[in-house]
Each structure stands twice: as C-alpha cells, then as structure tokens.
C-alpha cells in the first residue's frame, strides 16, 4: 500500500495490536478522537476501550504508568501529544523507565514505547516544535528512534514495540503527510540501532535523520559532488560503525540536525568520527543544526531549522578543503 509516515504509524499500531494482545495504546485524545494527528485512528473501534485508552492530561502518569504496565508484562505504547509536553515526564524516563532493568539486575524490565511528534515547521504554538533528541539520547538505558520514511516508520515502530527495552519514538511531524511511498501490508521490522545508507556517494558523507532527511536529500541532489547520505534512524544506541565506514570511504562529513547545536547529537557524531576515522578525514566535519535558542514562534520558525541551501553550503565547505 502507499502510505504517509503518519499512516505508517497507524498501520504499525493496527498490525501489532492484532498480533499481540498485550499491546495497550494510550494517551491524551488517542481513543475517541483518534489522536490530534489521527495516528491512532480506528484503533478504539477495532480493539476496544480496554486496550485503547484516553487518559487524563497527565504526562508524568502516562510515562510512569507505561513503565509500570510494562514491568507487569504488557507492551504499552503511550502517546505524548507533542514533544514539548514530554519534559514533565522526563523524570519518569530518567528515574524509572530507563533504569528498571539495571536497577533490578534484569529481574524486571520495561519494554515500552513512548511515541511523540517532534520538530518545527507546522505553525503551532510554543512547546510544539522542539527537537530535543540530544537530551533524551543522553539517558542511558533508553533507546531513541527517529524515522524519516513511511517504510522505516512501520518497520521501526514494530521493532520498537517488540524491543525488550524502553524506546522513545520521535515522529517527524512536519513530514507526517508530505509524501507517500510503498509500505508493505505485511509484518516486517526495521532493526533498531542500524543506520542505513539512504543515498550512495563517494565524495562526502552527510549524516542526518528524521525531519532533516528531505532537505538533506535535496541538498545532496543539488550538490556538485557525489554525496553519500547516512540516515541514522536510531539516535541511541547509535550505529557509529555505518557512519565511520562511510566517512572512511568519502573522507569528508557533514552532520545535520534540527535540534540546537551545543551539546547536541551532532557533537557526539563528530567525536566518534574523530575516534575512529580521524586519519581518513580530508576536511573538518561540518555541523548544520538548529540554533542554541528556543524554536521561534510560528512567524519565524522557518528560519530556525536547516534548509537545503544551508546544508549545501556545508557540503561545499567540506569539499573546498
């Protein structure tokens, strides 16, 4: 079937709820209204009110209760309506979800998924636009996933729900509906922790993920160089090997992310390239990122996140050395 990213989320939820009775979907407005983005559309009708639950407006309880449900043997898939509303529940991620396995020496685990739309560019209000994967990837024990295509979305979400550890699933909402592609009807997984080479090239590696993939590919197409694009897909744990192998081949690298630059995921990728491929580098690694500011409100948010010319500029810089 041809599906958008948000339809792929919906399809994955239908697929896994049908396959596994332990999967419970909940969050604010997910049941009766099918989610503000319709990601959970028709789940209530198909699976009933015990497994598809509209919760009170309680981010702390949504994430904390998901942890408890998971410890009890269920497979919770909780929705946080917008990424800017996860911070109240940050405590539950840090204090409980990510540490259950470690704390109990494996006696208890928290196989759960917290899904949320993230990123700027949809003209929403304050707290609706951030890309804070850096903050969440900093939590040991938590996996952080950010798909960029409908096909990967379904496969990664299925893998996330089945994963034995807690997963934060960050959905790039700006491209929720921007394109369709073939998404298999059947069940399949895209493994967590594996990056993919989205576009092959020999001159320069651009590492990117989630909402930044379309502008990255556009810049790669326009560049006067043979650009290889690595889609990280899982932010944590990171598949440094695919990145490093690509950089060893091309000798140049650019990292693109929407979140703020300082202390961000990009810095970590540069460090890994330095660790493993310094001697292969022919130019310093470039970073193209959001600014170290809050995401501006809607009138200026389009200035905030990287567009193809900014990425192209960095590619040219990397090529010029």
């Amino acid at each position: 079937m041809q599906a958008t990213i948000v339809e792929a989320v919906n399809d994955a939820l239908h697929t896994e709820m049908a396959a596994d009775d332990d999967v419970v979907v909940f969050g604010e407005d997910v049941a009766a209204s099918g989610g503000v983005f319709r990601a959970t559309d028709e789940l209530l009708e198909e699976f009933g009110g015990d497994r598809v639950v509209d919760t009170p407006l309680s981010e702390i309880a949504i994430v904390g209760a998901a942890t408890g449900l998971a410890m009890y043997g269920y497979r919770p898939v909780a929705e946080i309506q917008f990424s800017g509303f996860l911070p109240p529940a940050f405590d539950q991620l840090v204090t409980n979800a990510s540490r259950v396995r470690w704390r109990t020496r494996g006696a208890l685990t928290a196989p759960m998924v917290v899904r949320m739309p993230y990123g700027a560019g949809v003209r929403a209000l304050e707290h609706h636009s951030e890309s804070m994967e850096g903050a969440y990837a900093h939590i040991p024990g938590l996996k952080v996933v950010a798909p960029s295509t409908p096909h990967d979305t379904k496969g990664l979400l299925l893998a996330s729900i089945r994963d034995p550890d807690p997963v934060l699933f960050m959905e790039p909402k700006r491209i929720y509906r921007s394109f369709r592609e073939e998404v298999p009807e059947e069940d399949y997984e895209v493994p967590l922790g594996e990056a993919t080479v989205r576009r092959e090239g020999s001159d320069v590696t651009v590492v990117s993920w989630g909402s930044m993939m379309p502008p990255t590919l556009e810049a790669a197409d326009e560049a006067d160089a043979d650009v290889e694009v690595v889609d990280l897909r899982t932010i944590s744990p990171m598949d440094a090997e695919t990145v490093v192998e690509s950089v060893k081949k091309t000798g140049r690298a650019v990292v693109v992310h929407e979140g703020p630059r300082s202390h961000g995921v990009g810095g970590d990728i540069v460090a890994r390239i330095n660790d493993e491929a310094l001697m292969y580098l022919e130019a310093p690694v470039e970073r193209v990122t959001g600014f170290d500011t809050p995401v501006p409100l809607l009138s200026m948010e389009d200035y905030y996140f990287p567009h193809p010319p900014r990425i192209l500029d960095a590619i040219e810089d990397a090529m010029s050395v």
Partner: protein
C-alpha cells in the same frame, strides 16, 4: 514510654470501633454558588453591590470576549493566524472572575484573553501572539499577565509569584486560570499543595468547561467535582455556576479577600466550551449536538441580559452599538498588527540570555552571512500570516 501514644495523636481524636468506615467523597456535598437561576429569577438580596455602570461594564466585557473569539476564528479561517482557541460560552466565567482583579494582581491564564484586555493589553498584541510573534508577550508581561501553553505548568509559577507578594508584604494576589484538564497534571497538584502549605496569596481559578480537547470532565477524573480536590491540600474551595456572571463575580470577590489574607483558594467555575477546542479540532468526533444545544440554552449572555432587563438596566445598553464599537476596535487592532514591521533574524537570538554569548553571536553572524550569500534560502522560508 513513647510520647507518641497512637490513640492520642491529634489525627486520632475521634476513634471508632467495629467495621472500618470508609470516608467517601459522597460524604461531602459540594454546592454550586448561583445568583441568577437559568430561568432568570434571582433574590435581590444576593445581588452583588455594584452600580449601574459596573453592571453594564460586565456586559460589555462579556460581549468583547464573544466578538473577539468570533473575529479571531474568522481570520484564522482566512489563513491569518496559525490556530486559535475560542472562549465562546465561557464569557461569564471569564469576565465575572477577572472583574474582581486589581491592577497589581498577577494573572496567568490558560484560556482567557479578555481579562488581559481588561488590564490594558492592546488587542493588537493578542493578535500578534496568535500569529506567533513573540513581541505580543512583552505587553502581556508589562501588564502582569501571561498565557501558559504547557498545560498546568504555570501553577507552580503562580505559587512563587504569590510567595513573592507575601514576602514583600504587597497587597496583591497571583491568579492562575486553568482548565479541568490542567487539574490532572502533576504541576497543578504540587503547586496547590505548596501554596496551601506556605499560605501564600494564590488564587487557582479553574474553568471546568467540560472538555480537555476530546476528553470529557468525567473521564478526566473520578472525583465528583474539581473543587473538592483542593480540600485534600487543606485549601478552601468554592464551586460556582460559571454561566452566571454575578455568581462568579460574587464568589471570586470573596475568594480574593481570603487570598489577600494569605489563605489560598481554589475556585471551580462550571461552564462550557461552545466552540471547538481550537480551530484545528473537530468536536463532532467526541460530543453530541444535543449536548451543545443544551448548553446553548444556558448561554451566559442571555442569562445576564434577563437580569439587566429585570433591573431596568437593559434599556440603557445599546447592544448593537457596543458590538459595532468592539468590531471597530478589532479592525483597528488587526490593521495595527498587519502593519507590524517584519523583524530581522536577530530577533531569534535576542532575549535568550541577558547578554548574547559568543557562540550565539557566532551562529547569528554565520546565519546572516548565509542569507546574504544564498538568497535562495528564502524559497524555503514560507510566507507566514502577515506580521
């Protein structure tokens, strides 16, 4: 022997034998304060002590709220705003409460815009805010008011503001407006408890408009009322008919007096959100037309009009004339908002810190340089509603 003899502990002053007795919320009856009944009748002795001008003022502000909501929804439909949350149906709840507030009081709202106009915020700034232009909020702050987008996040802040008022001996209160949904957040509970424990002048004004986006109030909590939640924290509460502007005014006036004396109060105002949650919501997915019609029958403006008629005050009110004035005010505000000069990208970097750190300065310069070198950037920067 321990001094802590269990049966003598103050909490055990009354002990009971036999089967354990559960304390249930049904042991508690929570009345709803009302002055003008839905059929328009009232007891003259209960009517708040306001003069004719003030009674008319209340009507004018309620009408302002209604007209502003209507105009905002309509310009949103024309693509001139990102999104908007109408307050139609909540006019009595919003105006009756805000009318009690004094200029030095602080006001932090979830859904309530007109109280900010009542404090002197220009309509233009509210339009700018909903257009996603940060500048609007500067005048909000200058008039001691703010809007919280992260639900419930403002309650601890209001507790802190009130604490400051207490410490400095100022004769003012800090007020948080919140919704039924907000009462489920951790922040709300911590703040209400904190304000209660410290005894600071905070007023928590909860508009139970029956929905938090699609979730109805009875799915939001198993509690019979929201007012009673405050009792658990030792805070006094009052429940009021939010369709009755005089009852709201009366209740909040008294609440404000107590709060001023360092006894925080929680008010539940029972009202209804007539329009969609915001312009991006489709309420037909979760509520019935019959329900909406039933609430339309208790329209707060209608109920108040009946009161004004009984008091012989209606004849002096030129309803259509007032609407025209508000429309004209809105038109002027919209024009001013439209004339708001486009900002430069330095705005993105301003006000993050008191002083621009070198790294931010660098990011700003690099970006300015890029925009100059690559004007094709603007092909990717969408045209937004006019500033």
């Amino acid at each position: 022997m321990s001094e802590n003899v269990p049966t003598e502990h103050p909490a055990n002053a009354a002990v009971s034998a036999g089967d354990p007795r559960f304390l249930s919320q049904d042991d508690l009856s929570v009345d709803t304060h009302q002055i003008v009944a839905p059929d328009g009748t009232y007891d003259a002795a209960d009517v708040p002590d306001l003069d004719a001008e003030q009674f008319q003022d209340l009507y004018r502000w309620m009408l302002t709220d209604r007209v502003f909501s209507r105009r905002m929804v309509s310009i949103q439909r024309r693509g001139e705003l990102g999104t908007f949350g109408s307050t139609r149906g909540q006019e009595a709840s919003i105006i009756g409460s805000a009318y009690t507030l004094q200029p030095d009081d602080w006001l932090y709202v979830g859904r309530a815009w007109t109280p900010m106009f009542m404090r002197g915020v220009p309509m233009k700034d509210m339009i700018l805010f909903w257009r996603g232009i940060e500048e609007g909020q500067q005048s909000f702050a200058e008039h001691n008011c703010q809007i919280a987008i992260s639900i419930g996040s403002h309650l601890p802040l209001v507790a802190g503001l009130a604490w400051g008022m207490d410490l400095s001996g100022d004769d003012a209160i800090a007020t948080a407006y919140l919704g039924d949904g907000a009462t489920s957040t951790g922040a709300a509970h911590e703040a209400i408890n904190f304000a209660g424990a410290l005894g600071v002048p905070a007023l928590f004004y909860c508009q139970n408009n029956q929905y938090a986006i699609s979730l109805s109030a009875d799915q939001q909590t198993a509690a019979n009322t929201l007012a009673q939640k405050a009792l658990a924290y030792g805070m006094d509460a009052i429940r009021v008919d939010g369709q009755d502007v005089l009852a709201v005014y009366d209740a909040v006036t008294e609440a404000r007096e107590r709060v001023r004396n360092g006894e925080p109060v929680f008010v539940e105002s029972v009202t209804y959100r007539m329009d969609a949650h915001t312009t991006s919501d489709d309420p037909t997915r979760y509520r019935s037309d019959e329900e909406v019609v039933a609430w339309e029958a208790v329209d707060p403006l209608e109920r108040y009009r009946e009161f004004l008629e009984s008091e012989g005050l209606w004849a002096d009110i030129d309803h259509d004339g007032i609407v025209e004035e508000i429309e004209a005010e809105f038109d002027a505000a919209l024009e001013e908002a439209n004339a708001f000069a486009e900002r430069g990208i330095e705005e993105i970097f301003a006000h993050v810190y008191a002083e621009l750190p070198p790294e931010l300065q660098r990011q700003f310069e690099e970006f300015s340089d890029l925009l100059e070198r690559r004007p094709e950037m603007y092909d990717h920067i969408e045209q937004r509603p006019k500033g």
